[in-house]
Symmetry: C2
Subunit: 432 residues, 2 copies
Amino acid sequence: MKRLDTTSATFSSDLKALLGERGGQASPVAEPVRAILADVRSRGDVALCEYTARFDRLDVPAEQLRISAEEIEREAALVPAELMEALHVAARRIEAFHRAQMPDDLDFTDAEGVRLGMRWTALDAVGLYVPGGKAAYPSSVLMNAIPARVAGVKRVAMCVPSPDGVLNPLVLAAARLCGVDEVYRIGGAQAVGAMAFGTDLVAPVDRIVGPGNAFVAEAKRQVFGHVGIDSIAGPSEVVVVADNKNDPRLTALDLLAQAEHDELAQSILITTDVAFGEEVAKAVEVELETLPRAAIAARSWADHGAVIIVRDFDEAAEIVNDLAPEHLEVMLDEPRAFSEKIRHAGAIFMGRNCPEAVGDYVGGPNHVLPTSRTARFASGLSVFDFLKRTTTIEADQSALKLIGPAGVALARAEGLDAHALSLSARLDKFRA
Amino acid sequence: MKRLDTTSATFSSDLKALLGERGGQASPVAEPVRAILADVRSRGDVALCEYTARFDRLDVPAEQLRISAEEIEREAALVPAELMEALHVAARRIEAFHRAQMPDDLDFTDAEGVRLGMRWTALDAVGLYVPGGKAAYPSSVLMNAIPARVAGVKRVAMCVPSPDGVLNPLVLAAARLCGVDEVYRIGGAQAVGAMAFGTDLVAPVDRIVGPGNAFVAEAKRQVFGHVGIDSIAGPSEVVVVADNKNDPRLTALDLLAQAEHDELAQSILITTDVAFGEEVAKAVEVELETLPRAAIAARSWADHGAVIIVRDFDEAAEIVNDLAPEHLEVMLDEPRAFSEKIRHAGAIFMGRNCPEAVGDYVGGPNHVLPTSRTARFASGLSVFDFLKRTTTIEADQSALKLIGPAGVALARAEGLDAHALSLSARLDKFRA
């Protein structure tokens, strides 16, 4: 953990160093991924079976790569009732928030008599990638599939690797709960290739979302343009802005909740009180003694964690805007007043009793959020990822008479005479 | 031009062939672009000056790479008054439509007492790339800069190459009209690198938009993630759905307005009437005799143009959804009824007197639209490209008591104990 202080002469270079340490290189797996994608594209299911046998030690005929409804049923039945109920609570709240997010169409006629519109329509088909093994999170299934459903996507397909054939009951229960239409036991770049280009078994989709390892991320990058993708997630981060009225242990737990994700995760406390900062740092060490994922969390905290001491909370707000964090906790008396000063953050958690973990599961807003300062220009997953806009223009003779001549002048100036003619020939005809 | 007929046994493979012929390969300039970007990132303005001298034959010190307000003023004064007025008409209409597009924030408290919100905020800084030479279109400046301004972006920078030092008065007049803050005579991958990473002269931006050649497109692809980018535009296309009550010459001109853009542009007429299709094809040939850009338009029409004969307009709608065209003209008696059947299109132009050229200049909606079937998942440029969302969650003790336990259960099931503890330690404290 690093200690930074805004009164220090080296503060701005210290802050820059803190941010510059994580990720951002070109992918070392670009070439193998390119080969896998080309292979899946040309040989289809045969390639899918070969890669699944090689990488997941699962050698089955192509049709068995699809997980049947009966298997899903059977696995989902293994989930304890209390956990099933928790999934339902989360799903209901996520659905309600994303319904509120649905945008309105536009349709109006302006002073020149031109009827203008903008229509939101859903994508036809979406592919959801779910990592296998340790990082298989049922909450991610909910966060990716529910917005697609709410947006009106007709077909949601899911790929989840099952190394050695082992299925994850919670992930399948979550998929069933959200009405995912098809589930395949396929992982890695081959899963992305199958969903992007289609095979006999897997029909192609229009957009691929969901987190994955380096192969999956690179594969998504390579198929981008052919299909849509969500943003490539980097390591996760939280900034906790807290005054000294907070419980140091709770503050420490919030920092550790981020740190336990990943050794590259980043947890930053910003406070005005040096003594409080030290108490939190001590509490972190105490909690690390018993935390199951202490090895990961300790590495993350040691390498990327920081306590930043600021003169006041206005200065804190400026630093938050520089950091553009994925998650921001505001543990102050007036969290809303503070949050008004924040221009860049993926999600803001307000109040002393609203830790970031609320947002991971049951808050309602999406937990797929822009990482690594990309909140400067990017947003969390939402119904907007599963919708697109069509604009409409309707003009009759009288409207074209009013706006057409300016179009003719501009088209001619740009040297696009057929453009000009397509307008002027109509205007001439009206006069004739 | 190809003739397709839905009653033909080979129709679906014919249609596939028609779509498969354009673009989509990996960029052959990936390596040189990588080198230029790395060079600009490490050597800054020195590299910018060297590349500008090499590629644009313009050897000036770094500070002169910025076009001064006086130069812009002087160049803009060269634009004839009638053309300036046309630019104003276009700018006013584009601004009005994009203002209507501005979305509302969300802020509500749900039944469990959780206050939820979603806030739209503008990007801080945007970079606009404008191609030099032939493809320098003032309308593109308006279409890219105005939505950024309407969204509330504080700083809009623009890069436009000036080969041999030659400036484009119309482009500079358009930039001045939209209040672009900084204009640089820099082009190519080096311009993208400067805006993405920043140099002493050019402060970095958060998102880069605007069309460019293969170097620019590949550079944008490579800086994606570090900054946001708009979609990489492919060759342009129009689908005209027309009955035989249309004037064949006007229909032909609309097809040619697309074809004159680029030899890879695609113009497709869909009609029920074979004879009308032939009349339009004849009218295309007649117009090509006098069209200034006939060489380009003829090549596009010959290689990628098509007339598709359908049984009825329901079938036409299905084909349009398959094509997911950038532009769709509906030249029918009831264009709105037809357009209700369209799920995928960048922009729809309704009525016999609303050619696509209206949308290029003075319609109001954006002319930067998804090409090459990407309207299946992508949308035209809009204020949404210059905004991002922050979600907010505010929960107090009583709200956390209601939703916290489900979060604890899910966090434990995912093996994320610090997540669970950050919730359960608070719940325990409430009980104490």
